[in-house]
Point group: C2
Chain length 130, copies 2
């Protein structure tokens, strides 16, 4: 398969697939003309990567997940631990964003939003109270 074909099959841009080769996530063969030649296995790995990335795993996590995927003797505990760590990071990020949103919502609610200059949002940013 050419890069265009695996791109269509995996939903990943060709640029991204080349990048994944650069960082060693995949190692497609090369044809006589220098074109990359993707096997079915490569195509499956790319689908795997696309899904893992869409779940927010870092590329380093993807590397570990791929090697677990290919390791027939793996322990599912290792996969689970990795996924749990990722969930924890996502949860922390969500909490951080919710804290921001709560503060912003409160400020937005206080702001008249008219043509006058008085603005509780700017006053907060300037450190009026804290």
């Amino acid at each position: 398969m050419t890069i265009g074909e695996v791109a269509a099959a995996s939903g990943l841009p060709a640029k991204t697939i080349r990048y994944y080769e650069d960082i060693g996530l995949i190692r497609p063969d090369r044809g006589a003309n220098g074109y990359r030649d993707f096997s079915e296995t490569d195509a499956r790995k790319l689908v795997f990567l696309a899904r893992a990335r869409s779940l927010g795993f870092s590329t380093e996590d993807c590397r570990r997940l791929l090697s677990l995927y290919e390791d027939r003797g793996r322990a599912s505990a290792d996969v689970k631990r990795l996924a749990r760590g990722h969930v924890a990071r996502i949860t922390a990020k969500i909490e951080e964003l919710e804290t921001m949103r709560a503060a912003l919502d409160a400020l937005v609610a206080q702001c008249h939003g008219d043509e006058r200059p008085a603005c509780p949002i700017l006053e907060d940013l300037a450190g009026a109270d804290r």
Copy 2:
């Protein structure tokens, strides 16, 4: 004030303050020895920036917020619109992360997490069902 003093006063690392000068958010004077010399106004701007960044505003948003802050004839509506847009981006991000977390939680719950290789997480990533 020296950079170390405004860093302590604002809570921002000196490196970050130099970076903010690089991108034109602040323009401190220079002393005879070449050292930056921060005015009270600069110090106030840095506090403002630290707070705005902690609320997740981008540096470009910060630039706009600073110019509104300094514009005595501003309309609070402009500030509010900017803040609302930011809240919308945060909300979208939270939803994206919640979607990921829900999918991951479901997978983690299904995984035995023992020393056997069978793993619903990897099966999902490989595209078992979808």
